[in-house]
């Protein structure tokens, strides 16, 4: 992928982000913060690559710590979001 392709995807994604976030109902703004927390830990992809066997051992350890930190967020973020969302219920009729 060349730089311009990535930039194009990024620009489009910013538009999508703008619209998709504005369409979130205000009642769910707290879960929104929690779930964005979880998904921003997709940085774990970089952390996994950082541990490449052939490279510097320091880099490997930095990578492993980053994997652990990101995992806290991923599991914690999705779990707490799921816990919150499960509480929102409609009136029983």
């Amino acid at each position: 992928m060349d730089f311009i392709s990535i930039l194009s995807i990024f620009v489009m994604a910013c538009f999508v982000g703008y619209y998709v976030v504005w369409s979130v109902t205000p009642a769910l703004h707290t879960p929104l913060m929690a779930v964005t927390n979880a998904i921003s830990s997709v940085i774990i992809v970089g952390a996994l690559i950082a541990g490449a066997a052939g490279g510097s051992p320091t880099a490997k350890w930095l990578g492993l710590i980053a994997v652990a930190l990101a995992s806290v967020n991923i599991f914690g973020g999705f779990a707490v979001t799921a816990r919150m969302l499960a509480m929102y219920k409609k009136k029983e009729r």
């Binding site: 992928m1 730089f3 990024f10 910013c14 999508v16 982000g17 703008y18 998709v20 976030v21 504005w22 205000p26 009642a27 769910l28 703004h29 707290t30 929104l32 913060m33 929690a34 779930v35 964005t36 927390n37 921003s40 830990s41 997709v42 940085i43 992809v45 970089g46 952390a47 996994l48 690559i49 950082a50 541990g51 490449a52 066997a53 052939g54 880099a59 490997k60 990578g63 492993l64 994997v67 652990a68 930190l69 806290v72 967020n73 991923i74 599991f75 914690g76 973020g77 999705f78 707490v80 979001t81 816990r83 919150m84 969302l85 499960a86 509480m87 929102y88 219920k89 409609k90 009136k91």
Partner: protein
């Protein structure tokens, strides 16, 4: 070594992961689709992680799985145990971790550029990647140290009062300029000292930027840092040519920015004034003025119970004090008793009620209040004129009419509930002295139709429920 394009299916997998993240946020457009949305988010993350593991030479699988297990375990347990009232600090703490992870990844990329495919023929890192990396580590570090301070302030482990250094604007702008200048210089000279100086300065500026901001402004700061963590992820996505990270970065970046905007707007403050800091400090001064003594009426739990039983419609306005008192469960019980007696009960939520956006909604949901009884400001504000009772519990600024009339008030221009139009107003708080976050007096206390119910919110609701059941 130049960037080798991965096979098409890998890139497709990352794209799908990104699309799943979009669907995750899209699900939040209504409570009915939100759980489905969250599952999309999890699936997207799984796809991204598995794709990376399968296609990259990773250090050693056991170690990685160990790291995931340790981190995941801690995250999972925390998520299970945390009280809903503590969400603001949890979110801040999680942000600090994303920030730190970004810093570590950028550092690893700097130390081992070949693994990331960003090294040129000569073993040097591509200039474009250097900028992306420098921005990634700087934003990550700011996110980390800023979020740590925000966490400490929100968790009450550090005083919420703004700490104002002399010349702070000059120091901050100078440090920022130095960071940007060094990142620029980094493109021509790839010396380690530059990279690590940028990192150190970024940690410092994150700290300096947040300490002058008052504890009550922390939610805006947390959102802003949320946005930063998104842009940091996007920067790393540019470095790694990874669609999932780019899409996520844009989503999270927008989300944080929009939430900050919504909060600032609902408080009628400019983003700049929040970030410049010092809000709590000024308020402390103004509350030092001598308050005039005006007559007000005190009510009892029995009065409230009696009046609400007689009413046709009651609108409950919960605020930060209700969260502090953990009164949501007993409040819902009170509403249930009233509804059984034929009274129509609705909840009115201000966009900045509580201490983070949507905070009150989560607490009410926790107490099993159905979400279709809970209304936003614009949807219910016109109904106060027809309501028999407005029951304000632990809210203060969000019902203060000074926002509409008094141009000198710090909250002037903030949209507020028109509780003064209700036939009767009950106002639950602990003391006449206590003020809201903005530190201003409230005319509603002194209205003819207002009765003050001075007690802890939880205690007061319990007493009312007892009186109702007599």
């Amino acid at each position: 070594m130049e960037h080798v394009a991965p096979p098409a299916w890998v890139m497709l997998a990352y794209l799908i992961s990104g699309v799943f993240f979009i669907l995750a946020l899209r699900g939040l457009s209504s409570p009915a689709t939100s759980q489905q949305g969250n599952r999309f988010g999890m699936a997207g993350m799984l796809i991204a992680v598995v794709t990376t593991l399968v296609t990259h030479e990773v250090a050693s699988l056991p170690e990685i799985l160990g790291a995931i297990a340790i981190g995941g375990g801690i995250g999972w347990v925390t998520a299970r145990k945390i009280a809903m009232t503590d969400m603001p600090q949890l979110v801040a703490a999680f942000h600090s971790l994303v920030g730190m992870a970004a810093v570590l990844v950028a550092a690893a990329a700097f130390l081992n550029p070949v693994a990331f495919g960003i090294a040129g023929e000569d073993g040097l890192i591509n200039p474009v990647s250097r900028v992306e990396m420098g921005l990634g580590i700087a934003i990550g570090a700011i996110t980390f140290s800023g979020s740590v301070i925000a966490f400490l302030k929100l968790a009450g482990k550090m005083s919420g009062a703004p700490i104002l250094l002399p010349l702070r604007h000059v120091i901050n702008l100078g440090t920022l300029a130095a960071i940007l200048g060094l990142i620029g210089y980094f493109t021509v000279d790839q010396s380690p000292w530059i990279f690590w100086t940028v990192t150190a300065l970024a940690f410092l500026i994150g700290f300096l930027l947040i300490i002058p901001i008052g504890g009550a402004d922390m939610p805006v700061v947390v959102s802003m840092l949320n946005s930063y963590s998104g842009w940091a992820a996007a920067a790393m996505g540019f470095t790694l040519h990874n669609t999932a990270m780019i899409i996520t970065g844009a989503l999270v970046g927008s989300s944080g920015a929009i939430l900050s905007y919504i909060m600032c707007k609902a408080m009628n403050r400019s983003f700049i004034s929040v970030i410049a800091g010092g809000f709590g400090a000024e308020a402390a001064v103004s509350s030092g003025e001598a308050k005039e003594q005006r007559p007000w009426k005190r009510g009892s739990a029995e009065d409230a119970a009696y009046m609400m039983q007689q009413a046709e419609s009651v609108i409950i306005v919960p605020g930060y004090g209700m969260a502090v008192a953990q009164a949501q469960h007993i409040l819902r019980e009170m509403a249930d008793v009233l509804k059984k007696q034929g009274v129509s009960v609705k909840y009115a939520i201000h966009p900045v009620a509580g201490r983070m956006p949507g905070h009150m909604n989560v607490l009410l949901a926790e107490a099993s209040v159905p979400y279709d009884e809970v209304f936003e400001l614009e949807d219910i504000n016109s109904e106060f004129a027809q309501a028999d009772v407005a029951f304000i519990i632990g809210a203060n600024d969000v019902v203060n009419p000074a926002a509409k009339t008094d141009k000198t008030s710090p909250i002037y221009g903030m949209p507020v509930f028109d509780v003064d139009k209700a036939k009767t107003v009950f106002f639950v708080k602990r003391s006449m002295g206590g003020v809201g976050y903005a530190g201003v007096d409230n005319d509603v206390f002194y209205m003819d139709q207002t009765m003050m119910l001075l007690a802890d919110a939880k205690k007061m609701c319990e007493d009312i429920v007892k009186a109702l059941q007599h």
